[in-house]
């Protein structure tokens, strides 16, 4: 069953290459996948979702998918929701429909494969598979300085992937298998002296993919340049691969190694929240601002991971990280999708060219307002659920007697990020939607009913998790 979920987008991609109507195929495949994904969320424990196909005998290699725990289920849910929204809200340039929708599907299939794979080789390979169309789309259909942006993301993520690969190969050699579950049960085979090295490779490798400071500067130009579905799928879904990898592999396999690097990690995540936060404040365009903001918010997820590393018995940290990964994926995809609308309807994303758009496009303003409020962590929307759990998780071990530890101090400093993100988001909203109308916004079109569908899909997900985080948390019970 799970193989169907992964191969449906890939099959649709092939069908598009063979001449099927691109948009229609992409939308119907993504819609079917959404239904499958929701069904999976209800039935993932039944065992019927596992799939295994032997590929090689020696070393034993299986094309295998399964749901080892609720984390994969939530990531799969995130992928199918964002994919449908992305293909619905995108608009291909004249004559490039095949490339545009085909690549989007391939990114989606790659991400789903990586989140569902239970075998290390395919875990890695599917992510690489998703990166190729990402680079292509930015290089061929991007805006602005697209070649430069494409080169940068290619080099950066390519290097990151290779560093990551070194760490993964090292791990699989030590544990003697590619099966992730077996690797974890063989974790005693990872000797203490290798832990630090492996952990460093994994932090840098996965970290680069997640735009951990200072490996972040590929992200903003790439997202600013990328066509809307790519920005939505990469920032929303594919980027979470690195975090997923840390949770799935690094935390269980090299806990001592991660603990060794805890202090540097805390410094780096503060770099994400504060340094990149200030970089975000100084942006003059909506697209680069959103790109930087998505880098900034990764810091909070790393904070939960740091809390988990520091206190392995911390039951709040993993759910906090996963809820925030989901929430961030949905909200950033919504923001990129709407930014694309703003550009199509007004011709610009430069703050100096915009203003008063709420008058001509109240529907767009309303939905963008929800997305912006989600992104700055307003209660009732998903991101708050994640953030408040992250903060609580980093204070889980504090009892007043011993004073504040490094994780708590990092948490306190990064709560200032809550102010920073309000500064840039409200400024952006003020500059784009409020104030008197200007030439570009006077006659701008509002969202039509059809155009609202993808946005409302994401808004619904934001409200669902914001009002009832237990929807996700109940999927995570078995991890604890």
């Amino acid at each position: 069953m799970l193989a169907l979920l992964v191969f449906l987008p890939i099959a649709a991609f092939i069908a598009i290459l063979l001449g099927a109507p691109a948009r229609l195929t992409a939308i119907s495949a993504s819609a079917m996948n959404l239904v499958l994904g929701l069904y999976a969320a209800f039935t993932w424990q039944c065992g019927c979702w596992s799939f295994s196909l032997p590929v090689l005998e020696k070393p034993a290699l299986h094309l295998a998918f399964g749901f080892p725990d609720g984390v994969s289920v939530i990531m799969v849910l995130l992928s199918v929701i964002v994919t449908l929204a992305a293909v619905l809200s995108g608009k291909a340039p004249e004559g490039r429909e095949k490339l545009y929708y085909g690549s989007s599907l391939l990114i989606s299939g790659g991400a789903l494969g990586a989140f569902a794979a239970t075998d290390l080789f395919f875990f890695y390979a599917f992510h690489e598979l998703a990166l190729v169309p990402t680079f292509l789309m930015i290089g061929m259909l991007g805006r602005g300085d697209r070649r430069q942006a494409a080169w940068k993301i290619t080099i950066y993520l390519g290097l990151g992937s290779i560093i990551l690969l070194a760490g993964l190969v090292w791990l699989s050699n030590l544990t003697g298998t590619f099966n992730i579950q077996t690797m974890i049960s063989n974790k005693a085979l990872v000797p203490a002296e290798s832990q630090n090295g492996i952990a460093a490779l994994l932090i840098v490798g996965f970290g680069t993919l997640v735009s951990l400071f200072p490996f972040h500067s590929w992200a903003a130009p790439a997202y600013a340049s990328a066509p809307a579905p790519v920005a939505m799928l990469h920032a929303g879904v594919l980027k979470k691969f690195g975090l997923y990898g840390i949770l799935r592999l690094a935390i269980p396999l090299v806990p001592e190694g991660l603990h060794f690097w805890l202090t540097p990690l805390l410094v780096l995540l503060l770099g994400n929240v504060l340094w990149v936060g200030f970089v975000t404040i100084s942006q003059k365009r909506l697209d680069t601002m959103l790109g930087n903001s998505s880098v900034m918010h990764m810091g909070y997820i790393f904070l939960a991971i740091a809390a988990l590393i520091a206190f392995p018995g911390n039951t709040l940290a993993l759910p906090a990280a996963v809820v925030l990964m989901f929430a961030h994926g949905i909200s950033i995809a919504l923001l990129f999708g709407l930014a694309d609308r703003i550009e199509r309807n007004t011709g610009s994303l430069d703050f100096t060219d915009l203003g008063g758009l709420a008058k001509a496009a109240p529907g767009l303003a309303f939905i963008f307002g929800i997305a912006a409020m989600a992104s700055i962590g307003l209660p009732g929307l998903a991101n708050f659920s994640g953030e408040v759990l992250v903060f609580l998780s980093s204070f889980k071990s504090y009892n007043g007697t011993a004073g504040l530890g490094p994780v708590q101090i990092t948490c306190i400093l990064s709560i200032w990020g809550v102010v920073i993100s309000a500064v840039y988001m409200l400024r952006a909203y003020r500059n784009v939607f409020q104030g008197p109308s200007v030439k570009s916004t006077e006659t701008a079109a509002d969202l039509t009913c059809v155009e609202r569908i993808p946005a409302l899909l994401l808004v619904l997900a934001l409200f669902a998790v914001g009002l009832c985080p237990n929807l996700l948390l109940s999927l995570l019970k078995q991890v604890l």
Binding site: G139, A150, S282, L392, L426, F433, G435
Partner: protein, 604 residues
């Protein structure tokens, strides 16, 4: 116990209904007002009840965050203020906003506000308080920015939200620390946890508790607009005037006082006596009361005078809480809510009648032209300056007594404020309501309709009588029966009122323009300018620009661009040999990666 749930969720349901269904039908104002009336009735029905109920909002193992309510004398009394003022403001708004093209959005905002404020009042744990605290910030943002096409309104809304966020930064840290110390989030369980902590760590107890309380106090500084985060409240007057009455005078800004008192009540007042944090709170309140009153003496916009007066009165309340006489502060909160809402709605009626003129020096003679508004405004004025017999007198008396008992310097500061208050209010009343009309707009003013004056009359009655024990003991939150005695404090307070009144009359009677010009007060001690220019422009934005520059230069420029340039030149070499497009490169990259994996993994 379903009534409290209805009380909480009815306004939310109405807000959602308005936004999704009724936006274009014109029914939204009526539905919102009906819900405000219904919530007031429910608040009366649950008055004085006690009990608690909750459901789990988020559960992880044995840890959970709850949404629930806690009924006691404090919360049910506070609900009377919130729903009572709320109901009257809804009714007033029906008339005030009737020509506004976006009145559905306005009433949706009001309902959202009622929901959020109810949540703060009823909350049974600190995370829930924080959640609704943020939602109150959102509804205030929406309502201040109601006329978002005006630059000043949009900027004011943003400023209000950000000032509150700065306070909430501390608030969140304080909640986390208190959770660590007590081990609980629910109010009912915190006290036991705190006392266990005290028994285990007697030496550091007061220091750690002070740190946590001060962090939490940051939240109150933001929401109740105390120094140094007071700057947003006067700007918030850009919102429609009924909003100023409800949110920026009677309820939301009082939430900080309510929350602090709830904190003391929850943890036990005895722990706050002599706590360093309490001293900081008391002085912050006292200084805010004084500085804001000085600023109020030189404002020309009728709403801004009232806004600074609100700051000053909130300072009184915060001071009382800091002196661990929160019951006096809560009593003043209760009386102030009615007469300040009255003054704001009265100013709204004036502004409405004068075609949106807000400068008091362009009004004049309104008492004759608008007798009901003028007369009710007079009552609000008398209550605010604490003339004996009005409600404000009783509550201010309690605050003065508390200050006299605990800290003489703060007592004398409070007395100076008690002189300044009648001074600036007399200035306002004499200039705007008495004498000759000073502009054409004021010439054409005439009395407002019954939808507007009925709320004024009701509020005026409450402004007169709310301080008497027969009302206060029943409806005021945390009311302590307090035997009122004539004594030196009463004489000082009456003398202060008389001095202020006479000074105001002598200086401003019959004047065409302000005989005083004190730039320091007029320019609000230059605090706003300091924030806008120094903190925002030079500090935050310049700092952000510098960080951004280094990000671009070092991390992006030298490291990344160096790498990608190297790669690009390699790519260019390849391009000569190979297909020559990025497309080709990307596929080669993909295949290459797979080959690399294959060789490293399977042939090792």
């Amino acid at each position: 116990m379903t009534l409290p749930w209805i009380l909480l969720f009815l306004p939310l349901a109405v807000a959602v209904l308005n936004q999704l269904v009724l936006k274009k039908t014109g029914l939204a104002p009526i539905i919102s007002t009906a819900s405000a009336v219904a919530t007031f009735v429910i608040a009366l029905m649950i008055l004085g009840q006690s009990g608690t109920a909750a459901f789990k909002w988020a559960t992880i193992g044995d840890f959970s965050i709850e949404i629930g309510f806690k009924l006691d004398q404090l919360s049910t009394g506070m609900m009377i203020v919130v729903t009572g003022v709320g109901m009257l403001v809804h009714i007033f708004s029906l008339a005030y906003m009737k020509d506004d093209s976006a009145k559905a959005r306005y009433f949706t905002g009001l309902s959202l506000f009622m929901f959020s404020m109810t949540g703060i009042v009823l909350a049974n744990n600190f995370i829930m308080t924080f959640m609704f605290w943020e939602l109150v910030g959102l509804s205030s943002y929406l309502l201040i920015g109601h006329w978002y096409q005006k630059d000043s309104a949009a900027d004011a809304a943003k400023k209000a939200f950000l000032c509150n966020r700065v306070g909430d930064f501390g608030f969140m840290i304080g909640i986390l620390m208190l959770w660590g110390i007590t081990g609980h989030l629910a109010f009912d369980e915190m006290k036991g946890g705190l006392e266990a902590f005290q028994a285990a760590n007697p030496a550091i107890f007061s220091g750690v508790l002070s740190a946590a309380v001060l962090c939490i106090f940051c939240g109150a500084i933001g929401k109740s607009a105390q120094l140094p985060l007071h700057v947003w409240l006067p700007d918030a007057m850009e919102g429609p005037t009924p909003v100023s009455a409800l949110i920026h005078a009677a309820t939301m800004v009082a939430a900080g006082v309510y929350m602090l008192f709830r904190l003391q009540f929850t943890l036990g007042f005895e722990h706050f006596e002599g706590l360093p944090a309490s001293t900081v709170i008391a002085w912050t309140g006292g200084i805010t009361a004084l500085v804001a009153a000085l600023m109020a003496t030189q404002q020309d916009d009728i709403k801004r005078v009232l806004a600074y007066s609100t700051l000053s009165q909130l300072g009184y309340m915060v001071m009382a809480v800091g002196l661990v006489h929160g019951e006096a502060g809560m009593f003043h909160l209760f009386t102030h809510a009615w007469f300040k809402a009255l003054l704001f709605l009265g100013s709204g009626a004036v502004i409405y009648a004068c075609h949106h003129e807000q400068d008091i020096w362009k009004m004049g003679g309104l008492f004759k032209k608008m007798p009901i508004t003028g007369f009710t405004f007079l009552i609000g004025f008398l209550a605010l300056i604490a003339v004996p017999g009005t409600s404000g007198f009783f509550s201010k008396e309690q605050i003065l007594e508390a200050a006299h008992e605990k800290e003489p310097i703060l007592f004398w500061i409070a007395v100076i404020v008690a002189i300044l208050t009648p001074f600036y209010m007399t200035r306002l009343f004499v200039v705007a309501f008495l004498g000759k009309t000073k502009s054409e707009n004021a010439d054409h003013a005439h009395e407002v309709g019954p939808l507007m004056f009925v709320p004024l009359v009701l509020l005026a009655v409450l402004g007169l009588v709310a301080g008497y024990p027969f009302i206060a003991s029943k409806y005021a939150p945390a009311y302590h029966s307090h035997s009122f005695q004539l004594g030196p404090i009463t004489y000082i307070s009456i003398a202060a009122v008389i001095i202020g009144l006479i000074a105001g009359f002598v200086l401003y009677s019959g004047k065409e323009k302000d005989p005083l010009n004190i730039p320091l007060f007029r320019n609000r001690f230059y605090v706003d300018g300091f924030y806008d220019n120094f903190i925002v422009r030079y500090f935050q934005d310049a700092f952000a620009a510098i960080v951004s520059f280094f990000d671009e230069l070092i991390i992006n420029g030298l490291i990344v661009n160096g790498l990608s340039r190297a790669a690009e030149s390699t790519g260019n070499q390849f391009r000569k040999i190979q297909s020559g497009s990025l497309q080709g490169y990307a596929f080669v990259f993909g295949i290459g990666v797979v080959l690399v994996i294959y060789f490293t993994v399977f042939h090792s």
